[in-house]
């Protein structure tokens, strides 16, 4: 409380307690947080590696069944051994990570976009518009999401990454929408928004050039955290038998092999690396996300 006040009463000749200006503070906060920094670096390394190597890798070759190499344990030829189709787990891991990252990013982006739009509209206009949007959100809120998604996946023909992204996004945009809405409502009460209106600024401009920038840090935080959640999002479905075909390796597919009793105990090299990788990815993203969160919320700031 006190600090806040102080910040306002004292113009910016004090660099130490300047009003946070978006990206810079985020950067500073991450640089300060060793954990977050190393997480971010690790994340970038993994992503760079995975995307880099997957260009070189021959995906067809990796998903080719080789009867002579079924369940080979890790060796110099197969770094992480092979699966029940004699396919190289390491290669699948690389491509799978890439696919899972793509899925995570796509789902996050798409659901984030929809949620953002809905939230902004509801929060900015309020009143009836808000009511309508919130009714829709309410409806989604009471859906037994997991179950409906499973049913959905069972229905969709030609199930692939794209379909998956669409289905997931259709159900998870609401959390973003709710968050954005509540923040937008708060911001709309603030006088700078009112001021823009009295100045005759059209609504869309107010939303994009006033509201949005002021929600940006919250949006970034939320996107980061939901990216963490979305990376592993398809694991569950794979486990239930609604995953992608083996020709589309993903971390979820690899992990779901754990249900196979032949693999779970005797051939952990098939599922364990993927599980660990998911864990690492999610932890990293989460670390970064939490650091971002702290930077937007003075109370949670460390030190």
């Amino acid at each position: 409380m006190e600090t806040q006040k102080n910040v306002q009463t004292n113009p910016g000749n004090d660099p130490a307690i300047k009003t946070p200006s978006g990206a810079k503070v985020i950067l500073v906060e991450i640089l300060k947080d060793k954990m977050a920094l190393s997480s971010a670096i690790l994340l970038l390394l993994i992503a760079a590696f995975v995307f880099g190597v997957s260009i070189i890798l021959d995906q067809d070759q990796i998903v080719t069944v080789d009867l002579l190499a079924i369940f080979e344990p890790p060796s110099s030829q197969y770094w992480l051994g092979t699966d029940h189709g004699g396919r190289d787990v390491f290669g699948q891991l690389i491509i799978g990570t890439r696919n899972s990252l793509l899925i995570g990013i796509a789902v996050t982006a798409l659901s984030g976009l929809v949620g953002l739009a809905m939230g902004l509209i509801a929060g900015y206009f309020g009143g009836h518009t808000d009511n309508v949007v919130m009714r829709i959100v309410d409806f989604f809120l009471v859906l037994p999401t997991t179950m409906i998604i499973i049913a959905f996946v069972a229905v969709v023909p030609n199930y692939s990454l794209l379909q998956f992204t669409l289905i997931m996004s259709a159900f998870i945009w609401i959390s973003m929408a709710r968050l954005v809405r509540s923040k937008a409502l708060q911001q709309s009460e603030l006088e700078y928004i009112q001021a823009a209106r009295t100045l005759g600024t059209p609504h869309y401009k107010i939303i994009f050039s006033h509201l949005l920038p002021n929600l940006s840090s919250i949006i970034i935080v939320n996107l980061t955290l939901s990216l963490a959640a979305n990376i592993g999002i398809e694991t569950g479905l794979s486990f239930l038998g609604f995953g992608f075909p083996e020709s589309t390796p993903s971390l979820g597919t690899l992990m779901s092999h754990a249900t196979n009793p032949q693999i779970f105990e005797l051939r952990p090299w098939v599922w364990l690396p993927a599980s660990i990788l998911v864990l690492v990815l999610m932890l990293c993203i989460n670390n970064v996300g939490q650091a971002l969160k702290r930077s937007t919320d003075a109370k949670q700031r460390r030190g």
Binding site: V63, G85, P245
Partner: protein, 588 residues
């Protein structure tokens, strides 16, 4: 004829073990097994303990359905449970012909139309009431009833005199039945076929007194079926936890003699944990054992592995026509993409099924030679060599038939020089299903066929059958499985009027052969054998579908259990002779 639904992706093998006492079980150096490694029977062995509890794992990935009635059940899990307390009236030999060993005997009239069924005197329901002719008729009355909601009202029922009138409500009784006395009844059919004795006659009786007052439509949901089912089998149902477990006690009044164990506990076990449950001795034996898990566990020290040949086989089917719904028959299209016989043969020759079976299934699946499995030992043609893996020959065949790679893309064009893309559909299934499909496709590509997996992924089983059945033009070729029943007659799969004739292929020769198999002459066994040998050969020649793999069913049995048999044709595994040699199960 009770038969499992077409093996919706999970093939259920079974097996036999050696009846030696040795506690280490089948294990051979190369890790590849064959039928010779298994015995179907483990004879009673030394002195068992008095009574005891036999723990049976009912292998299913979800709770059992609990329609515990032969007339109504539709899922094999229920049948697995039913067999412990309710049994067939008739025993069969390994040719699936009814013998006198069962609870009832059967006599055939000269014209093969009238069958006299006599239920043995000492066969009584668990409540003490005798099993009567009425009960046998009652089973027919239920199945033939217009409110009957099961799948068993089929051609062989309609073949009973008076059945259709009864079904349509025109008659109160089925006129084809003639009660001689309490335990004897005459059953008359309209048409005689050799198949009647091997599956054409309904095997079961239903306790009419027990279902008094229950409407036919309400039977499947009734307590008499779901909670306190009544049978005359070796064990009596004591308690059912719906979907999970059934506790049975021995039927002291069992007509074949008092069972040796006191109690049987059936528990549903998820296929994923079967092995662990067996190892820890939590269950003594299982109803089915997942084939892919066998090799890893062949060395399990606390069980003996029994095994036998399976009634299932897999095949590659070719879409050669469509179903003519108006005429209700198959319409063969000689211009179909796959209509070239050489092409089909090349497809079959290109894949090394031996290797596939050995590597992925450790020999528990092995190359199929004909469309009649060894399960039908009497009719399976041992001398038919089937197909030899020969990719070179496959390429030759293609070349001879005019399939040549004209544009140098590595894939052949069809004889007209048009690009040839073959769409292949395969079902989702167990862990190996996808790998198998991919393996096959690789082999086909190696001989120059441009194969594409339907929509890039395995097809969900329901959708798969839907599309196959509707002759989806997007499918040129598919892989599927088939489980044969006790009746050898293959018309259901190959006949011109069979909807399950998914390849939609028929020709005069084939129709003639099929008719021959059911003809008057075919009552003569060797004649019929000849016909079906001819059939097997003919199918291998025209190849509307190519048999790919046979299977071996394996059955793990705890060391302490003996007196059990999984002999083919034996629809009574001899539960009353099963004995325990130890109070506690052996543990790995």
């Amino acid at each position: 004829a009770c038969n499992d639904s077409g093996d919706g992706g999970s093939t259920e093998p079974s097996g036999t073990g050696d009846d030696t006492e040795t506690e280490e079980t089948v294990e051979n150096e190369d890790g590849i097994y064959s039928l010779d490694d298994f015995e179907p029977t483990k004879a009673a062995d030394g002195d068992g303990i008095e009574g005891g509890t036999l723990n049976v794992g009912v292998v299913a990935s979800s709770p059992f359905e609990g329609t515990l009635d032969w007339q109504h059940y539709s899922i094999s899990t229920d049948a697995d449970i039913l067999q412990f307390f309710s049994e067939s009236l008739f025993a069969m030999d390994d040719a699936f012909n009814i013998t006198d060993e069962g609870a009832a005997t059967i006599e055939v009239s000269e014209d093969n139309l009238t069958y006299t069924i006599t239920i043995k005197d000492n066969v009584n329901w668990h409540d003490g009431e005798p099993v009567t002719a009425e009960d046998f008729i009652f089973a027919h009355e239920v199945i033939g009833h217009k409110d009957y909601d099961g799948v068993r009202y089929d051609a062989s029922f309609r073949n009973i005199v008076g059945m259709e009138e009864y079904h349509d409500g025109e008659a109160d009784e089925i006129s084809g039945f003639n009660i001689i006395d309490e335990k004897t009844v005459e059953l008359t059919f309209k048409e005689a076929t050799p198949s009647l004795m091997s599956g054409g006659i309904w095997y079961y009786a239903m306790p009419k007194h027990y279902f008094e007052g229950v409407e036919v439509a309400d039977i499947p949901a009734s307590d008499q079926v779901r909670r306190e089912p009544l049978g005359y089998g070796p064990f009596v149902v004591e308690n059912i936890v719906p979907g999970e477990s059934v506790t049975l006690s021995k039927n002291e009044d069992y007509w074949k003699g008092e069972p040796l164990v006191d109690e049987v506990v059936l528990t549903v076990v998820n296929p994923d944990v079967v092995v662990e449950s067996l190892r820890s001795g939590q269950i003594d034996l299982v109803t089915t054992f997942p084939a892919t898990q066998f090799a890893d566990n062949a060395d399990m020290s606390n069980v003996d592995w029994l095994g036998r040949t399976s009634r299932f086989y897999t095949y590659t089917g070719f879409k050669l026509g469509t179903w003519d719904a108006d005429a209700n028959e198959v319409a063969y299209d000689p211009d179909a993409k796959m209509s070239n016989q050489s092409l089909r043969e090349a497809v079959r020759l290109a894949v090394n099924y031996e290797e596939l079976g050995n590597r992925m299934y450790n020999g528990l699946r092995f190359p199929a030679t004909t469309v009649i499995t060894p399960y039908h030992a009497l009719y399976h043609d041992d001398s038919n060599p089937g197909f030899e893996y020969d990719p070179e020959r496959a390429k030759e065949l293609l070349a001879e038939a005019g399939y040549e790679d004209l544009d140098g893309d590595g894939y052949v064009e069809d004889p007209n020089g048009e690009e040839l893309v073959i769409n292949y559909a395969a079902r989702q299934g167990d862990a190996t299903a996808e790998a198998v499909a991919n393996y096959e496709m690789q082999a086909w590509r190696d001989i120059g066929l441009n194969i594409e997996l339907l929509e890039g992924s395995l097809t969900e089983p329901n959708a798969f059958y839907d599309r196959i059945e509707e002759d989806d033009p997007a499918i040129d070729m598919y892989t599927a499985g088939w489980g044969v029943g006790s009746d050898i007659d293959p018309s259901g799969l190959f006949g011109p009027q069979a909807m399950f004739n998914y390849p939609r292929y028929t020709d005069d020769t084939l129709e003639a052969i099929l008719a021959d198999g059911l003809s008057e002459d075919a009552f003569d066994l060797s004649y019929r054998q000849d016909v079906y040998n001819q059939f097997q050969e003919y199918i291998n020649e025209v190849l509307p579908l190519a048999p790919t793999l046979y299977q071996i069913d394996t059955f793990p049995v705890n060391n302490r259990v003996s007196g059990i048999s999984y002999e083919v044709g034996n629809n009574d595994y001899g539960w009353h002779t099963v004995q325990l040699n130890d109070e506690n199960p052996a543990v790995d």
